[in-house]
């Protein structure tokens, strides 16, 4: 044992290292989230957190479950592929609780958002210069928003 004579300070130092390492392991156990590293270098539970965010737009399927009459009317017209909330705004609260009445959109603002004439828009998209086209009359005087074509029997 002569080789280890006067080597107590080394063992004390090694012990210090072992204690520090154990403390690191204990601390790490508390600090690192449980699901970290399960799927990759991230907290796997974050995926679930992200998916749990609340909805604002209910989606047109939810609308059509009750408003099938409007859905049928829309299907026949050129707005068939425009979803309900594109014009009516986010209405998940109305879908969850029908007693919440949504505000009816103002066609004077709404229609020109898409249909105001501009050279920047694709040529095949129907565009009008609102002043020349309707002389300031609201769009729904002639066009029904859910099926905008004007037919012989009057607005549909």
């Amino acid at each position: 044992m002569s080789a280890f004579k006067n080597s107590g300070h080394l063992f004390r130092f090694a012990l210090l290292f072992v204690i520090a390492f154990l403390a690191f392991l204990v601390l790490r156990n508390f600090v690192v989230p449980k699901s970290f590293g399960k799927l990759g270098h991230y907290r796997a539970d974050a995926i679930g957190d992200m998916a749990a965010k609340p909805l604002h737009y209910a989606g047109h399927e939810a609308c059509e479950a009750c408003h099938s009459d409007v859905a049928d009317m829309k299907k026949a017209g050129s707005h068939a592929h425009v979803n309900c909330e594109a014009c009516h705004g986010p209405l998940a609260n109305h879908a969850a609780d029908p007693s919440i009445t949504p505000v009816l959109p103002d066609t004077a603002v709404l229609c020109v958002r898409c249909h105001a004439a501009s050279a920047a828009k694709p040529k095949n998209f129907p565009q009008v210069s609102a002043e020349d086209h309707s002389n300031g009359l609201p769009c729904q005087t002639c066009h029904k928003p859910h099926s905008p074509a004007i037919t012989a029997g009057g607005a549909k």
Partner: protein
């Protein structure tokens, strides 16, 4: 699917449990949604975009995006005949309230909606020092905002400028491809509200998704392909002047 009453009643409790998991936001536990079965992307059909800004407004409403910051935005390009490499690009307030009326001239105009490209080999996730941003097993680049330090390395790393530091939370924020919607079987807020169908959510792992036929039969490009980011937002008829 043919369902008689007996089978319907047998399935009812299972469906109820599944729905509970969906609402609880634990899609990995939900029999309805399996992350391994999806690989999400988006198709943007440039000739269909009219620059109405519906997607920008819908995104802001769905995800509480603070004013002046954007998870998606629309750019309007004006390319003149003799200067292809210097297009004039405008995006007033991200296109949120639409664009000023353009007069007919010699140049051409088109709109380019932009959002996170949900890259398969994403530069932003590689630089995160703490593992706060990652590619989920279904191919969506997400941010763990409880873990983010707000160091903004990823903001600099994104070649598409899709990330920003949230002014109140002081952590990074960006498009999640409406992860809370797509895991419930809905489409994203921007796709739901696009009046012309210029934006379409695409599931590349779904063999019945029309994206496969579309990619086969159209001239489709991703942004900055030279960066080899594995971008999954596909642009139909993308002009060469777009960068």
């Amino acid at each position: 699917m043919n369902l008689n009453r007996r089978h319907f009643l047998i399935m009812l409790p299972a469906a109820a449990i599944a729905w509970e998991h969906v609402l609880a936001g634990t899609p990995e536990n939900s029999p309805n949604y399996n992350t391994a079965d999806h690989w999400w992307g988006m198709l943007i059909d440039i000739p269909k975009c009219i620059g109405c800004g519906n997607c920008v407004r819908a995104c802001a409403a769905e995800n509480d995006v603070p004013d002046g910051h954007f998870r998606t935005w629309v750019e309007r390009y004006h390319v003149t005949d003799y200067d292809m490499v210097n297009p004039q690009v405008i995006s007033p307030d991200g296109g949120k309230e639409g664009f000023p009326v353009a007069e007919e001239d010699a140049g051409k105009y088109f709109f380019v909606p932009k959002l996170c490209n949900h890259c398969a080999d994403s530069p932003c996730t590689q630089v995160c020092p703490v593992g706060a941003t990652f590619v989920s097993p279904d191919g969506v680049v997400l941010i763990d905002q409880t873990y983010c330090l707000g160091c903004a390395y990823c903001v600099q790393a994104c070649p598409y400028g899709c990330r920003y530091i949230h002014p109140e939370k002081k952590v990074v924020d960006k498009c999640t491809l409406c992860y809370h919607r797509i895991t419930k079987g809905l489409t994203t807020a921007c796709c739901e509200n696009c009046p012309t169908g210029a934006r379409q959510l695409a599931d590349l792992k779904n063999p019945n998704d029309p994206i496969h036929e579309f990619l086969k039969t159209h001239h489709v490009q991703v942004l900055k392909p030279q960066m080899a980011t594995g971008a999954k937002v596909f642009y139909n008829e993308l002009d060469g002047s777009v960068r």
